[in-house]
Subunit: 330 residues, 2 copies
């Protein structure tokens, strides 16, 4: 059976058969990139969230779900180095949910995050759904013409960075699976991990910084998980990568639930949903911005190699091939 990634690749080829490409970047990056005017390009993304696959009512709150629906798409826009501008949201609601305050509170959470980034909700659709809530989140952003940061342009020798600590969202998921629920009286470390999972914050300003300073040679957001998302970069850029296990910045609040190094590294590599940025930088450029990177808590975790399609995880003397074990639907 084909994976969703194989399917998307074939779809890309089929859709290109039909017409000459109008998009600068079509299917296969975090966002499509389309010419807007003489100055700017439009980037646009859509993310489908389905109840009991991407969120559970019992695990989250309607405000969190509204926040996260927008956040995941803002994160895609951030990963292009673009500034989000407007959004749409389509929502399918079962009758029994319509009768509650879910939709009200969903939009409260959604619009609160939208206002933080000055994103205007310009449209959407409301539909009935048979028994599960479905949400499609669409966000458009802008970036100077030709300056969107792609996943396909990493260069051999580039350093690999992440924009923040990893594994927190997966830790939160683990807590939820074990029966912990978010409430404001909860212990701080638990609240932290739960909010990393339930209310992720998109790294828009980091993306804008990297764009403005022309620092990132390639970029993707960490939605599926580092092992999978780095594999996407390597495959799109036709390069390989080495990751140094000791350099992976674990979320410090993981300690109580991930005792061993192996447990922590599994959450950080394969957990997904941290919605940090993964990006590559030419080493010469990095040295000029070393202090700034430190202040922003960007972490270097490895480098790009010529070993096409191979991601190596280096742990002391041990080198192992890192298989993409992040989230996949199929």
């Amino acid at each position: 059976m084909q994976s969703e990634f194989e399917f998307i690749n074939r779809l890309k080829i089929n859709s290109q058969k039909i017409r000459r490409t109008r998009a600068r970047v079509g299917i296969g990056d975090d966002c499509a990139v389309l010419p807007k005017n003489s100055r700017n390009d439009l980037v646009i993304t859509t993310d489908l969230l389905v109840e009991d696959v991407d969120f559970k009512l019992d695990w989250s709150k309607p405000e969190f779900i509204g926040h996260k629906a927008l956040a995941v798409s803002l994160s895609d826009v951030a990963a292009m180095g673009a500034t989000p501008v407007w959004s749409m949201v389509s929502i399918g609601i079962p009758e029994h949910v319509w009768q509650t305050d879910f939709v009200e509170k969903f939009y409260d959470g959604y619009l609160r995050l939208a206002s933080k980034f000055d994103v205007e909700l310009v449209g959407g659709d409301v539909s009935k759904a048979p028994d599960k809530i479905v949400i499609d989140s669409i966000v458009a952003g802008e970036v100077r013409r030709g300056k969107a940061i792609l996943r396909s342009t990493a260069q051999v020798g580039d350093l690999i960075f992440v924009s923040g600590e990893l594994g927190g969202a997966a830790g939160g998921l683990k807590l939820l699976q074990n029966g912990t629920r978010y409430n404001s009286d909860e212990k701080i470390w638990r609240k932290h991990l739960l909010l990393r999972q339930l209310q992720p914050f998109p790294q828009v300003s980091s993306g804008e910084f990297l764009r403005d300073k022309k620092l990132a040679t390639s970029m993707i957001d960490l939605s599926d998980g580092l092992s999978s998302d780095l594999a996407h970069v390597c495959s799109a850029s036709k390069v390989g990568a080495q990751i140094f296990a000791a350099k992976i910045p674990f979320d410090i609040k993981l300690k109580p639930i991930a005792k061993t190094f192996e447990e922590k590294i599994d959450l950080a590599l394969n957990g997904g949903e941290d919605f940090e940025l993964l990006f590559t930088v030419n080493p010469k450029k990095y040295f000029r911005y070393k202090n700034e990177f430190k202040n922003r808590r960007f972490f270097q975790i490895g480098k790009i190699t010529a070993n096409v399609g191979i991601v190596e995880l280096i742990e002391g003397e041990k080198i192992q091939i890192l298989e993409p074990k992040g989230f996949r639907h199929f």
Copy 2:
């Protein structure tokens, strides 16, 4: 309980509280309208289709579902007088459907229609869904700056037109409900009605004609049904309308399943999904284009009045208030 239309109205107000409007037209028309460049505006729409609410696998074919998913959004773009340019589609698929050729054939139908209108599929999302297929269809179009045709600009005294015959899609739905299924050996009238329902054709070229000739003072597509969609125009334009029952162009193939005038008029007024255009024209302009309207089979069905919010149905001597009885989710 609030209807979806009331909810959308409140959402419009809430989203406007948050920021000054960047969109020329935001929530509440067929498409949002956003400034693109010095020459053109971008119009964009999203339509959510949910299995067993908007389509049934047993009633349709994957190719038809792909076609219709795109067609409903193309119809929204057509209703703005815009030319469709690019699209995205997000699809949530249950595991057992992923294992069939549904997705292949869905995109066959989708891309076949896309190529007819030279629309480029630039992105999307593939997700797992628990048990029902969900599809979100997003289409963007272009129109000269400030020239999008809105539903809020009908003028008292304008004539009301539809771009084609009505009730066919509702007739097709009736056949499906009674157990008829589409197959190529079926009688022609049945095939015609089933295809009106299962494979609607968006009236893009009619929309473009009306835009190019500056003929329509307002426009909407007939998705919910004439009685509801005309009420949307009246409410948005703060006008009323009179419809002449005798002038409503019934789909001629309805005869075998709608014997009486009352049955036919119910399908035409309240059935929905014909995806024809409903538009208003200044009478002076109409007289200059009378022949062209005839050739294009545009039908005049009534006129706009100052009777704000009231739609009257005139049948001989009888005048009745027409309540919006078209499709609504809630």
